[in-house]
Protein backbone atom coordinates (compact mmCIF):
# COMPACT_ATOMS: atom_id res chain seq x y z
CA UNK A 1 0.00 0.00 0.00
CA UNK A 2 1.16 3.52 -0.74
CA UNK A 3 2.14 5.90 2.04
CA UNK A 4 -0.08 8.77 0.88
CA UNK A 5 -3.16 6.52 0.76
CA UNK A 6 -2.34 5.11 4.19
CA UNK A 7 -2.01 8.63 5.61
CA UNK A 8 -5.42 9.47 4.16
CA UNK A 9 -7.01 6.32 5.58
CA UNK A 10 -5.54 6.65 9.08
CA UNK A 11 -6.20 10.39 9.23
CA UNK A 12 -9.81 9.86 8.21
CA UNK A 13 -10.19 7.05 10.74
CA UNK A 14 -8.94 9.21 13.64
CA UNK A 15 -11.06 12.30 12.91
CA UNK A 16 -14.12 10.12 12.33
CA UNK A 17 -13.60 8.19 15.55
CA UNK A 18 -13.28 11.18 17.90
CA UNK A 19 -16.77 12.72 17.53
CA UNK A 20 -18.23 9.22 17.62
CA UNK A 21 -16.39 8.31 20.81
CA UNK A 22 -15.93 11.37 23.03
CA UNK A 23 -19.62 12.09 23.81
CA UNK A 24 -20.23 8.42 24.60
CA UNK A 25 -17.13 8.20 26.76
CA UNK A 26 -17.99 11.29 28.81
CA UNK A 27 -21.78 11.30 28.95
CA UNK A 28 -21.96 7.67 30.12
CA UNK A 29 -19.82 8.69 33.11
CA UNK A 30 -21.43 12.01 33.96
CA UNK A 31 -24.84 12.71 35.41
CA UNK A 32 -26.64 14.30 32.47
CA UNK A 33 -28.84 17.33 33.33
CA UNK A 34 -32.56 16.73 32.82
CA UNK A 35 -32.92 19.46 30.15
CA UNK A 36 -30.05 18.13 28.08
CA UNK A 37 -31.61 14.68 28.32
CA UNK A 38 -34.89 16.11 27.05
CA UNK A 39 -33.15 17.72 24.10
CA UNK A 40 -31.28 14.51 23.31
CA UNK A 41 -34.61 12.68 23.31
CA UNK A 42 -35.59 14.61 20.20
CA UNK A 43 -32.31 13.90 18.43
CA UNK A 44 -33.43 10.70 16.63
CA UNK A 45 -36.50 12.37 15.10
CA UNK A 46 -34.51 15.46 14.15
CA UNK A 47 -31.57 13.56 12.62
CA UNK A 48 -33.75 11.16 10.66
CA UNK A 49 -35.79 14.06 9.26
CA UNK A 50 -32.63 15.97 8.39
CA UNK A 51 -31.39 12.91 6.48
CA UNK A 52 -34.66 12.02 4.72
CA UNK A 53 -35.84 15.42 3.44
CA UNK A 54 -32.67 16.25 1.46
CA UNK A 55 -32.66 12.76 -0.10
CA UNK A 56 -36.12 13.50 -1.46
CA UNK A 57 -35.68 17.09 -2.59
CA UNK A 58 -32.09 17.26 -3.84
CA UNK A 59 -30.77 15.45 -6.89
CA UNK A 60 -27.30 13.95 -7.12
CA UNK A 61 -25.88 17.17 -8.51
CA UNK A 62 -27.00 19.04 -5.37
CA UNK A 63 -29.86 20.92 -7.06
CA UNK A 64 -33.32 21.34 -5.51
CA UNK A 65 -35.78 19.30 -7.56
CA UNK A 66 -39.19 17.61 -7.47
CA UNK A 67 -38.55 13.92 -8.19
CA UNK A 68 -41.89 12.10 -8.60
CA UNK A 69 -40.19 8.69 -8.38
CA UNK A 70 -38.62 9.50 -5.00
CA UNK A 71 -41.64 11.34 -3.60
CA UNK A 72 -44.19 8.68 -4.52
CA UNK A 73 -41.94 5.88 -3.23
CA UNK A 74 -41.32 7.81 -0.01
CA UNK A 75 -45.03 8.46 0.60
CA UNK A 76 -45.75 4.75 0.05
CA UNK A 77 -43.12 3.75 2.60
CA UNK A 78 -44.36 6.39 5.03
CA UNK A 79 -47.98 5.19 4.91
CA UNK A 80 -47.03 1.51 4.86
CA UNK A 81 -44.70 1.73 7.86
CA UNK A 82 -47.27 3.82 9.72
CA UNK A 83 -49.85 1.02 9.29
CA UNK A 84 -47.67 -2.08 9.42
CA UNK A 85 -44.83 -1.06 11.78
CA UNK A 86 -42.35 -3.53 10.32
CA UNK A 87 -38.91 -2.39 9.21
CA UNK A 88 -38.12 -5.28 6.90
CA UNK A 89 -41.45 -5.21 5.12
CA UNK A 90 -41.20 -1.43 4.71
CA UNK A 91 -37.73 -1.60 3.16
CA UNK A 92 -38.81 -4.32 0.72
CA UNK A 93 -41.98 -2.42 -0.14
CA UNK A 94 -40.00 0.78 -0.74
CA UNK A 95 -37.63 -1.04 -3.09
CA UNK A 96 -40.49 -2.68 -4.99
CA UNK A 97 -42.43 0.57 -5.39
CA UNK A 98 -39.27 2.40 -6.51
CA UNK A 99 -38.39 -0.37 -8.93
CA UNK A 100 -41.91 -0.68 -10.33
CA UNK A 101 -42.49 3.06 -10.62
CA UNK A 102 -39.10 3.36 -12.31
CA UNK A 103 -40.43 1.35 -15.26
CA UNK A 104 -43.70 3.26 -15.22
CA UNK A 105 -42.09 6.71 -15.10
CA UNK A 106 -39.44 5.66 -17.57
CA UNK A 107 -36.27 5.96 -15.48
Amino acid sequence: MREETLAIIFGMAVVTFLPRFLPMAFLTRWVVPERLKMGLGYVPTAILSAIVFPILFFNEGGKVVIQPLYLLSAVSVFIFSWKVKRLWASVILGMLVYWGLGFFLGH
Binding site: I9, M24, R35, G39, V43, P44, I47, V77, F78
Partner: protein, 239 residues
Amino acid sequence: MTNNHPFREGAKDALPVVLGYLPVGVAFGLLARNAGITPSEVGLMSFLVYAGASQFLAIEMIDQRMTWVPIVLATFFINLRHFLMSSNLSLYLKNTRLSLLGLLSAQLTDESFAVATSNLPKVKNNPHYVLGLQITSHLAWVIGSIGGALFGPFIKISEYGLPFALPSLFICLLVFQLKSVRHFGIMVVAGISSLFFKWALQGNWHILLAALLAGGIGVGVEIINGKQKAKGAKQKGQG
Protein backbone atom coordinates in the same frame (compact mmCIF):
# COMPACT_ATOMS: atom_id res chain seq x y z
CA MET B 1 -37.86 -13.26 21.14
CA THR B 2 -36.20 -11.24 23.90
CA ASN B 3 -34.86 -14.51 25.36
CA ASN B 4 -32.47 -14.78 22.43
CA HIS B 5 -28.87 -13.81 22.91
CA PRO B 6 -28.73 -10.01 22.54
CA PHE B 7 -25.80 -10.19 20.12
CA ARG B 8 -27.73 -12.46 17.77
CA GLU B 9 -30.83 -10.29 18.18
CA GLY B 10 -28.79 -7.26 17.14
CA ALA B 11 -27.33 -9.09 14.15
CA LYS B 12 -30.85 -10.01 13.05
CA ASP B 13 -32.07 -6.43 13.34
CA ALA B 14 -29.13 -5.34 11.17
CA LEU B 15 -30.37 -7.22 8.11
CA PRO B 16 -32.27 -4.28 6.56
CA VAL B 17 -29.09 -2.23 6.96
CA VAL B 18 -27.09 -5.00 5.29
CA LEU B 19 -29.50 -4.90 2.36
CA GLY B 20 -28.74 -1.21 1.96
CA TYR B 21 -25.01 -1.35 2.68
CA LEU B 22 -24.07 -4.11 0.25
CA PRO B 23 -25.01 -2.26 -2.95
CA VAL B 24 -23.72 1.11 -1.69
CA GLY B 25 -20.48 -0.61 -0.60
CA VAL B 26 -20.16 -2.16 -4.05
CA ALA B 27 -20.66 1.26 -5.64
CA PHE B 28 -17.98 2.69 -3.36
CA GLY B 29 -15.49 -0.08 -4.17
CA LEU B 30 -16.13 0.35 -7.86
CA LEU B 31 -15.56 4.12 -7.80
CA ALA B 32 -12.50 3.78 -5.57
CA ARG B 33 -10.98 1.26 -7.94
CA ASN B 34 -11.61 3.64 -10.84
CA ALA B 35 -9.80 6.39 -8.89
CA GLY B 36 -6.75 4.15 -8.59
CA ILE B 37 -7.23 2.74 -5.07
CA THR B 38 -6.30 -0.93 -4.75
CA PRO B 39 -8.82 -3.48 -3.40
CA SER B 40 -6.80 -3.94 -0.19
CA GLU B 41 -6.73 -0.18 0.39
CA VAL B 42 -10.47 -0.08 -0.25
CA GLY B 43 -10.99 -2.81 2.34
CA LEU B 44 -8.77 -1.06 4.88
CA MET B 45 -10.58 2.26 4.41
CA SER B 46 -14.02 0.70 4.77
CA PHE B 47 -12.84 -1.22 7.83
CA LEU B 48 -11.13 1.67 9.65
CA VAL B 49 -13.11 4.74 8.56
CA TYR B 50 -16.53 3.16 8.03
CA ALA B 51 -18.41 6.32 7.09
CA GLY B 52 -20.00 6.21 3.66
CA ALA B 53 -20.46 9.86 2.67
CA SER B 54 -16.93 10.86 3.68
CA GLN B 55 -15.45 7.84 1.89
CA PHE B 56 -17.18 8.78 -1.36
CA LEU B 57 -15.96 12.34 -0.98
CA ALA B 58 -12.40 11.17 -0.24
CA ILE B 59 -12.40 9.13 -3.45
CA GLU B 60 -13.56 12.17 -5.36
CA MET B 61 -10.77 14.26 -3.82
CA ILE B 62 -8.13 11.58 -4.39
CA ASP B 63 -9.27 11.46 -7.99
CA GLN B 64 -8.60 15.22 -8.17
CA ARG B 65 -5.07 14.62 -6.84
CA MET B 66 -5.64 16.31 -3.49
CA THR B 67 -3.33 15.54 -0.56
CA TRP B 68 -4.27 13.99 2.77
CA VAL B 69 -4.71 17.28 4.70
CA PRO B 70 -7.81 18.64 2.92
CA ILE B 71 -9.26 15.13 2.69
CA VAL B 72 -8.91 14.51 6.42
CA LEU B 73 -10.31 17.98 7.22
CA ALA B 74 -13.34 17.43 4.99
CA THR B 75 -13.87 14.03 6.61
CA PHE B 76 -13.83 15.57 10.08
CA PHE B 77 -16.56 18.07 9.22
CA ILE B 78 -18.73 15.56 7.39
CA ASN B 79 -18.60 13.10 10.27
CA LEU B 80 -18.99 15.62 13.07
CA ARG B 81 -22.72 14.87 12.98
CA HIS B 82 -22.13 11.55 14.78
CA PHE B 83 -21.39 13.63 17.85
CA LEU B 84 -25.13 14.05 18.49
CA MET B 85 -25.91 10.38 17.89
CA SER B 86 -23.15 9.35 20.25
CA SER B 87 -24.55 11.74 22.88
CA ASN B 88 -28.01 10.28 22.49
CA LEU B 89 -26.89 6.63 22.71
CA SER B 90 -24.78 7.40 25.78
CA LEU B 91 -28.02 7.80 27.77
CA TYR B 92 -28.74 4.09 27.36
CA LEU B 93 -25.25 2.66 27.76
CA LYS B 94 -24.33 3.67 31.29
CA ASN B 95 -22.01 1.24 33.10
CA THR B 96 -20.48 -0.06 29.87
CA ARG B 97 -16.72 -0.70 29.88
CA LEU B 98 -14.74 2.05 28.20
CA SER B 99 -13.03 -0.40 25.82
CA LEU B 100 -16.40 -1.74 24.68
CA LEU B 101 -17.70 1.82 24.27
CA GLY B 102 -14.66 2.48 22.09
CA LEU B 103 -15.59 -0.39 19.82
CA LEU B 104 -19.27 0.58 19.76
CA SER B 105 -18.56 4.19 18.90
CA ALA B 106 -16.06 3.29 16.18
CA GLN B 107 -18.91 1.48 14.41
CA LEU B 108 -21.58 4.14 14.93
CA THR B 109 -23.26 5.13 11.67
CA ASP B 110 -26.46 6.96 10.69
CA GLU B 111 -28.07 3.65 9.83
CA SER B 112 -27.09 1.65 12.91
CA PHE B 113 -28.03 4.62 15.08
CA ALA B 114 -31.42 4.77 13.38
CA VAL B 115 -32.09 1.08 14.01
CA ALA B 116 -30.80 1.25 17.59
CA THR B 117 -33.02 4.20 18.55
CA SER B 118 -36.11 2.44 17.26
CA ASN B 119 -35.28 -0.52 19.53
CA LEU B 120 -34.44 1.30 22.75
CA PRO B 121 -35.74 -1.41 25.11
CA LYS B 122 -33.23 -3.80 23.51
CA VAL B 123 -30.43 -1.20 23.67
CA LYS B 124 -30.87 -0.18 27.29
CA ASN B 125 -27.85 -1.42 29.28
CA ASN B 126 -27.35 -4.06 26.62
CA PRO B 127 -24.20 -3.14 24.70
CA HIS B 128 -24.05 -6.61 23.14
CA TYR B 129 -27.24 -5.94 21.23
CA VAL B 130 -25.65 -2.82 19.74
CA LEU B 131 -22.46 -4.77 19.09
CA GLY B 132 -24.33 -7.46 17.10
CA LEU B 133 -26.20 -4.81 15.14
CA GLN B 134 -23.07 -2.85 14.31
CA ILE B 135 -20.63 -5.68 13.60
CA THR B 136 -23.10 -7.16 11.11
CA SER B 137 -23.60 -3.81 9.39
CA HIS B 138 -19.87 -3.08 9.39
CA LEU B 139 -19.14 -6.46 7.84
CA ALA B 140 -21.64 -5.81 5.07
CA TRP B 141 -19.96 -2.48 4.31
CA VAL B 142 -16.46 -3.98 4.18
CA ILE B 143 -17.51 -7.01 2.13
CA GLY B 144 -19.54 -4.83 -0.24
CA SER B 145 -16.61 -2.43 -0.75
CA ILE B 146 -14.07 -5.16 -1.45
CA GLY B 147 -16.57 -6.96 -3.67
CA GLY B 148 -17.13 -3.76 -5.63
CA ALA B 149 -13.39 -3.15 -5.98
CA LEU B 150 -12.84 -6.69 -7.26
CA PHE B 151 -15.97 -7.42 -9.30
CA GLY B 152 -17.70 -4.03 -9.62
CA PRO B 153 -18.18 -3.93 -13.38
CA PHE B 154 -20.01 -7.27 -13.31
CA ILE B 155 -22.55 -6.38 -10.62
CA LYS B 156 -25.82 -4.55 -11.26
CA ILE B 157 -26.36 -2.31 -8.26
CA SER B 158 -28.90 0.12 -9.65
CA GLU B 159 -31.47 -2.62 -10.28
CA TYR B 160 -34.26 -4.16 -8.16
CA GLY B 161 -34.93 -0.90 -6.31
CA LEU B 162 -31.64 -1.23 -4.42
CA PRO B 163 -30.94 2.55 -4.57
CA PHE B 164 -34.08 3.07 -2.49
CA ALA B 165 -33.22 0.54 0.26
CA LEU B 166 -31.51 3.02 2.60
CA PRO B 167 -34.00 5.87 1.99
CA SER B 168 -36.82 3.40 2.82
CA LEU B 169 -34.97 2.37 5.98
CA PHE B 170 -34.64 5.98 7.13
CA ILE B 171 -38.27 6.85 6.32
CA CYS B 172 -39.59 3.81 8.17
CA LEU B 173 -37.42 4.49 11.23
CA LEU B 174 -38.55 8.13 11.18
CA VAL B 175 -42.17 6.96 11.23
CA PHE B 176 -41.38 4.79 14.27
CA GLN B 177 -40.15 7.91 16.08
CA LEU B 178 -43.36 9.89 15.51
CA LYS B 179 -45.09 9.18 18.81
CA SER B 180 -46.70 12.57 19.47
CA VAL B 181 -47.73 15.84 17.82
CA ARG B 182 -44.51 17.33 19.16
CA HIS B 183 -42.45 14.77 17.25
CA PHE B 184 -44.30 15.77 14.08
CA GLY B 185 -43.37 19.36 14.81
CA ILE B 186 -39.73 18.38 15.25
CA MET B 187 -39.87 16.49 11.94
CA VAL B 188 -41.24 19.50 10.07
CA VAL B 189 -38.73 21.93 11.61
CA ALA B 190 -35.73 19.62 11.13
CA GLY B 191 -36.81 18.56 7.65
CA ILE B 192 -37.40 22.04 6.27
CA SER B 193 -34.38 23.61 7.97
CA SER B 194 -32.15 20.78 6.71
CA LEU B 195 -33.27 21.62 3.16
CA PHE B 196 -32.39 25.24 3.78
CA PHE B 197 -28.99 24.45 5.33
CA LYS B 198 -28.11 22.04 2.55
CA TRP B 199 -29.09 24.63 -0.02
CA ALA B 200 -27.18 27.44 1.72
CA LEU B 201 -24.04 25.54 2.79
CA GLN B 202 -21.89 22.98 1.09
CA GLY B 203 -21.16 19.56 2.53
CA ASN B 204 -22.98 17.71 5.26
CA TRP B 205 -23.59 20.50 7.76
CA HIS B 206 -27.33 20.39 7.30
CA ILE B 207 -27.81 17.26 9.41
CA LEU B 208 -26.00 18.60 12.47
CA LEU B 209 -27.42 22.13 12.22
CA ALA B 210 -31.01 21.07 11.58
CA ALA B 211 -30.87 18.55 14.44
CA LEU B 212 -29.45 21.14 16.84
CA LEU B 213 -32.09 23.69 15.83
CA ALA B 214 -35.02 21.27 16.07
CA GLY B 215 -33.72 19.74 19.31
CA GLY B 216 -33.28 23.21 20.79
CA ILE B 217 -36.83 24.21 19.86
CA GLY B 218 -38.09 20.94 21.35
CA VAL B 219 -36.36 21.67 24.65
CA GLY B 220 -37.69 25.25 24.61
CA VAL B 221 -41.26 24.03 24.15
CA GLU B 222 -40.83 21.43 26.92
CA ILE B 223 -39.53 24.07 29.33
CA ILE B 224 -42.35 26.54 28.55
CA ASN B 225 -44.96 23.77 28.87
CA GLY B 226 -43.44 22.62 32.15
CA LYS B 227 -43.63 26.17 33.56
CA GLN B 228 -47.24 26.60 32.43
CA LYS B 229 -48.23 23.30 33.98
CA ALA B 230 -46.54 24.24 37.25
CA LYS B 231 -48.34 27.61 37.16
CA GLY B 232 -51.68 25.94 36.41
CA ALA B 233 -51.24 23.49 39.27
CA LYS B 234 -50.38 26.37 41.62
CA GLN B 235 -53.49 28.35 40.62
CA LYS B 236 -55.69 25.28 41.03
CA GLY B 237 -54.23 24.72 44.46
CA GLN B 238 -55.01 28.28 45.49
CA GLY B 239 -58.56 28.22 44.08
